[in-house]
Symmetry: C2
Subunit: 413 residues, 2 copies
């Protein structure tokens, strides 16, 4: 049995509690190990009175340390009192998992030293890029590489604001207000819009990538508060949009590290990272460019990374390799969802095929002429409930001798 205590029960904490609950059976089946969430520290119990886990709640930190706990999940954020609590946990030889980039950017080195001294670990995958598995990828999967550079979009709030300014013509203030309304920005957005949050994450990433401590306070930091609608018009002239990027680069002696708004080709992979998404483009000397993208924040993306850290701690005790299930999957060969399809029908009876397509599909768009100039071809885009509808249509026109060949392509959005 693995006992987990959690500090904090806000957005991230609730997500972690839910994932522990959802995965309990799977975990027991695969690792023969039971995950138990045994205590949760909250500031004010009366605020959680209807919560299904209310019997686990306490307002007293000493209750947490009294419990026979294996892993402590820190989900409070900020430095005070997280820093003191995490230090205390490590010194009591508890493993710690945290999503707290402020804590790791500020005290990561010290906390890792304390953990090592006590023979425990502190994991913090969720502190950078939310659910994107980036720290483990750099630390383990790219271990044979010298990392040359990192180009990254690490702050979802600013990426959301800039996306709205770019695509919806909003002013900075309008976009910020929308972000606040939708919960993508805090009431006091300073740490996001001034680039501090991205700088803290870049410092953690770079420290691991280059194996040298990159202090976030040494990084050049510019925010997005000065970007206006005209900047986007000028960017368009270069076929660019504007993104707040965290960039670091290994030099011969120094590490270049900056957080600043840059124009990025709209046509590039990073230019396509919109709204609250994050992306990290890592350049390794062996692997070349590898890109990771996904939601950089939010309840379940963050909890997904925290849960993986918990699983890692548990598996270290009972190391387990990848397994292939003994159960053979049954395969569905046909696209089962509603979708748009492209059809290209070779026929000597265009009129009949055109009539047939119109009546066979709810909605369709049939081209009046084809690019090939081939008079024995009908080209159409159709909407269908699933691939079976498409295949039935094709079988029908072929068996009735109306078409000699039909090409189909799914249009994926």
């Amino acid at each position: 049995m693995i006992n987990i205590a959690m500090l904090g029960y806000g957005v991230v904490g609730s997500g972690v509690a839910e994932l522990i609950f959802r995965n309990r059976d799977k975990f027991k089946d695969e690792l023969n190990e039971e995950l138990v969430l045994s205590k949760i520290l909250v500031r004010n119990i009366s605020k959680h009175i209807d919560n299904k886990n209310k019997e686990l709640l306490t307002e007293d930190i000493d209750d947490i340390f009294k419990e026979k706990v294996d892993i402590i999940v820190e989900a409070m954020g900020g430095l005070d009192p997280s820093y003191e609590y995490v230090k205390r946990a490590l010194n009591m030889k508890k493993h710690v998992v945290t999503a707290n980039k402020d804590l790791i950017a500020e005290y990561g080195y010290e906390l890792l030293q304390i953990a090592k001294k006590n023979g425990v670990t502190i994991h913090f995958e969720a502190s950078v890029g939310g659910g994107i598995p980036i720290l483990k990828s750099i630390n383990e999967c790219l271990v044979g590489n010298e990392i040359k550079s990192i180009k990254s979009i690490l702050n979802g709030t600013t990426n959301f604001i800039l996306s709205k300014m770019n695509h919806n013509g909003m002013s900075y203030t309008e976009a910020l207000e929308l972000a606040q309304k939708l919960g993508f920005a805090e009431a006091n957005p300073e740490s996001d819009v001034k680039g501090y949050d991205a700088a803290r994450k870049l410092s953690i990433l770079s420290t691991i990538a280059y194996n040298r401590r990159v202090d976030w306070k040494d990084i050049n930091i510019e925010g997005i508060t000065e970007i206006d609608e005209y900047d986007f018009k000028y960017a368009k002239m270069e076929k660019c949009s504007i993104k707040l990027m965290g960039i670091s680069k290994l030099g011969s002696k120094h590490i270049y590290a900056t957080v600043m708004p840059v124009m990025v080709k709209e046509d590039s992979v990073l230019g396509k990272i919109e709204d609250e998404y994050n992306a990290i483009l890592v350049e390794g000397d062996a692997v070349g460019d590898v890109m990771f993208s996904g939601k950089g924040a939010g309840m379940f993306p963050t909890a997904s990374a925290v849960f993986a850290d918990i699983a890692d701690i548990v598996k270290q005790k009972r190391k387990k390799c990848i397994t292939f299930s003994s159960e053979k999957a049954e395969i569905d060969k046909s696209w089962g969802l509603k979708g748009k399809w492209f059809l290209r029908v070779k026929t000597q009876n265009r009129v009949k095929i055109i009539q047939g397509i119109s009546s066979s599909f709810k909605s369709c768009y049939i081209l009046s002429s084809t690019f090939s100039g081939n008079k024995e071809e009908v080209v159409a885009f159709v909407n269908a409930d699933n691939e079976v509808c498409i295949d039935n249509y094709i079988e029908k026109v072929k068996s009735e001798g109306e078409a000699c060949d039909v090409k189909k392509l799914l249009i994926l959005h």
Copy 2:
């Protein structure tokens, strides 16, 4: 000391040997463990007569098994004799690392069973997506998720061919010939262009993602041999390009799995994956969409993944957590590379600023009028050797009182 023997010394094998050599010191420093490449099996020693590792070569498989070997790297490809050799290695309680998707798609289940029985492991990260860390990410980092779907571009050869057809107006035959000339396609390209290679990789990915064995022979497989230039014109009408996609989706009972060419919005992240690049978009119930992309093949990308597997096996013996270096990095705050910059200068003396920009930078493009209609503003794109040049210019115009405010943005390509 960790003894490694390698089967095969072609493109992948040479890359692995080089990475073991490059990382030997780092490995010793960090893990106090020496990596030694002790033997390499080749078909014909006389072909490698000038190789720096020639004293390690043997043509006799029994020499490999005679050595006191901890890890065997299989870098031959194909099924015969790889399958027999790998089975023999596992039964002799050697750990195995392989990049061989044919082998894993065909015999993965059996080989994992044999490994388990013998208390060793078989790792195969490089078998899917080359250097992209995808199998470990699904298996460990997304362990708290139920994987809902996978959309992927898993074959670099076909993606290269389709990219050339889309962007350079090449015919299928022309693009294939170019791919063969550049080494992206084999003399017999059947396994790539008919979709078998992608199907094998999709089966490995899906088997791990859904924890049910997905046999590649059960997957619907369509290749790209029927795609012609007109298809791309029709795709353009939908603002799409055409990609060979491996798609799988968890259903209530079945798993949908297909490899087929589909039209993909050019504007989407997957639509931006060009040439020999691969990409895997994984949808988890907690994390949402996470995308991984990078080079899906080639000497060093593949070797990067093989090396990470070797490191994993070694670290399992001496488990080591992330560390933050005790050495503090010196930070370079200024972009040190040649680059294009956007400048927006607020001034009451436009003529002087325009003259100044022209003489300060080797090449520049100054707008004749501004979008804001502001007569007290100059907007320009300039090329500079580094950020210091830009900052010096800004300092100069400010100190001389010519400009009251200057905005600068790097243009990232």
